[in-house]
């Protein structure tokens, strides 16, 4: 075991996450605010190259490996943890906040992971911790959380199977650029894409995230999908399939958000839409588009958190989340409204906001690659973003009709969290230089040309005109829109009959299934590594899988201290 680090950055957040549930009052506030700052400081202490290794079952794990891409994502993850913690100081559930911090730590851990096994361990820490965040949303979240856990376990199984196959094929656990030449790599790609919200599994996101509490969804919006973007950037840049997967996600998000009534589900669909832009960029490949995808992940985390903080404030102060119940809140929540509008302008890529300086780099990458179809689709989708998120969210929540609701502004800490993120949205839009310096490749791009600004304003403001002309068609109804998840959610359906009604039975069946799936993967590894060791043959395979995963996780965490 070698290390040149004071402390791995992920540990600061995971340790805080384990501590927070046992704290109250000022101590809890202090940990919530200090841990992310410490983590960010540690992120910037990680030099390039492998900094922390450990050996496990004959493999050399690279637990911390630094480079520009890793620091970029880890930086925004810690910014997010700080802003989310500040916003959530008045969240009574310490369990939710602890889970959220461990979840953020898992994301930082993935960003610095130099090998596939370390990726998997932190990937699963994120899956478990984020499920806890969803479940902290209360009784309403039970079913959604179960489905969320099931999909992510499935994704984890695909990933583990792929990693096992990759080790078998190459003898190496290195996490590096992969082509799609073997079934094992297809499995890894599929595991990554499930977390990105790619089809046909996009529905887990709008199902689970809006079931979380007013603060929980702020955290959830940031880490899982953007960690997926990170591993795709690292592992599969320039994979052409991703262009089309990304375009599907872009339009899926827009169309479903147009039909949606729940304000936070609108924003959830919009996450799929935005991640689609990034996935397209990764598929295009080349330094411009990859820089753009990385920059867009950075700016997206911030403006989406701001939008969800604004929506979370409305939910906390009114108890309502449907557009049909809301409207006219600008009268008594002007600050929350302005913050929501700043987030909406940023997600729409208005000039002088962060979205403008990041998303346009991906389009430039498409233009440089002479990908006309991709470029025009992305332009149409950019117009659609303003339609479904940029105007629709603030309009139906804060303006529209007078709902008669007169809620006050949220507490100071929530306003401060929003203000911080809004400052980033505008600051990065006005001074993109510092962000461009953090990107993995040198940036040779000028966002602010007269041509680009005029084009973008035309595109967006005429989308706005289209919105108000078609307002009658966009009137909200108390409906949801069916998705592929109908297959496993269908009332009295044939796959998980009674999962919603008989949670107990559904849960145990789910665990059995996950256990046996995990066990079959684990037994594959087991065969490769021989029959000796602490996981003796007399153990039931299901139990063995569980303990092996647990011990691996504990080992990685403990090795930090060495």
């Amino acid at each position: 075991m070698t290390t040149s680090l004071a402390l791995p950055p992920a540990l600061a957040l995971i340790a805080a996450g384990l501590l927070i549930p046992f704290l109250n009052g000022a101590a809890r506030t202090a940990v919530l605010l200090v841990a992310p700052v410490v983590a960010m400081w540690l992120v910037w202490q990680v030099p390039d190259g492998v900094q922390l290794t450990a050996s496990w079952m004959g493999y050399q794990l690279e637990i911390v490996r630094g480079d520009k891409l890793a620091r970029l994502f880890a930086t925004v993850f810690t910014i997010m943890a700080f802003a989310g913690g500040l916003y959530s100081l008045n969240q009574s559930s310490s369990f939710e906040l602890g889970s959220a911090y461990a979840y953020a730590g898992g994301a930082v851990g993935v960003a610095f992971a130099g090998d596939l096994i370390t990726v998997f361990v932190f990937w699963e820490i994120m899956a478990v911790a984020s499920t806890m965040v969803v479940w902290s949303g209360g009784r309403r979240a039970t079913g959604s959380g179960l489905r969320y856990a099931a999909i992510h376990m499935f994704g984890g199984v695909l990933l583990m199977a792929g990693i096992t196959g990759e080790i078998h094929n190459t003898g190496s656990i290195a996490f590096q650029v992969m082509d799609t030449s073997t079934p094992a790599r297809w499995l890894i790609l599929a595991g990554f894409l499930i977390n990105a919200g790619a089809p046909p599994f996009s529905a887990w996101l709008p199902d689970a995230y809006p079931a979380a509490s007013w603060s929980g969804m702020v955290f959830l919006s940031a880490f899982t999908t953007k960690t997926a973007v990170y591993v795709l950037l690292r592992g599969f840049p320039g994979t052409e399939l991703l262009i089309y997967v990304g375009l599907y996600m872009v339009f899926y998000g827009i169309v479903y958000a147009i039909l949606e009534n729940d304000m936070r589900r609108i924003l959830a669909y919009s996450i799929v839409n935005q991640v689609g832009f990034m996935v397209t960029g990764i598929g295009i490949g080349g330094q411009m588009a990859l820089n753009g995808a990385a920059a867009h992940a950075f700016t997206h985390i911030i403006y989406k958190a701001l939008l969800l903080m604004s929506a979370g404030s409305v939910l906390l102060m009114t108890g309502k989340n449907k557009c049909t119940d809301l409207g006219g809140l600008f009268r008594t929540m002007p600050f929350t409204m302005v913050m929501g509008v700043v987030g909406a302008l940023a997600i729409s890529s208005f000039p002088l906001t962060s979205g403008f300086i990041s998303k346009s780099m991906i389009s430039q990458g498409a233009a440089d690659g002479h990908l006309a179809f991709v470029w025009f689709m992305r332009a149409a989708a950019s117009a659609g973003v303003f339609l479904h998120a940029g105007i629709k969210f603030p309009w139906f929540v804060f303006f529209q009709k007078d709902s008669g609701l007169r809620p006050p502004e949220p507490p100071w800490n929530m306003r401060a969290g929003m203000l911080l993120m809004a400052a980033f949205c505008i600051g990065l839009g006005v001074w993109p230089g510092p962000l461009y310096d953090l990107l993995p490749y040198p940036v040779d791009y000028l966002p602010y040309t007269a041509s680009h600004v005029v084009y973008q304003l035309q595109l967006l403001l005429f989308s706005g005109l289209a919105f108000f002309i078609m307002l009658g068609l966009l009137k909200r109804t108390e409906t949801i829109t069916l998705d592929f998840d109908w297959i496993y959610r269908k009332p009295n359906g044939w796959i998980t009959r009674g999962m919603n009604d008989e949670l107990e039975r559904g849960w145990s069946r789910l665990m059995d299934r996950a256990d046996s799936a995990l066990a079959s993967v684990q037994s594959g590894i087991y065969r490769i590594h021989g029959p000796d060791g602490i996981f003796g043959r007399s153990w039931p395979t299901g139990q063995m899988a569980f303990w092996a995963t647990l011990m691996l996780g504990a080992y990685v965490l403990l090795s930090y201290y060495a």
Partner: protein
């Protein structure tokens, strides 16, 4: 930006008065017209040809939104359900 085009009854916050809304529509219309006319003076560097047509951002953005909304409405006819659909 247009703030409201319907008037809520019995509310006289200045932002929702009919006179304000009319002013917003007029102001927005002028802004939109100016934006399109700027294409006369701003030199664009089209990548593919059609993106260099007069007012490309304006007409392409507008048409894209119309198509997206109509497509969504069509899909909604098939896939929309009451929001209590999964509750039972």
């Amino acid at each position: 930006m247009d703030k409201d085009q319907r008037k809520p009854a019995g509310d006289d916050h200045w932002l929702v008065r009919p006179s304000t809304i009319r002013a917003l529509w007029i102001g927005s219309s002028i802004l939109l017209a100016v934006l399109v006319l700027l294409d006369l003076v701003v030199e664009h560097h089209p990548h593919f040809g059609i993106d260099g047509t007069f007012g490309f951002g304006a007409w392409f953005g507008f048409l894209s939104c119309v198509v997206l909304v109509l497509f969504a409405k069509g899909l909604g006819l098939i896939l929309k359900r009451p929001d209590t659909y999964y509750d039972n």
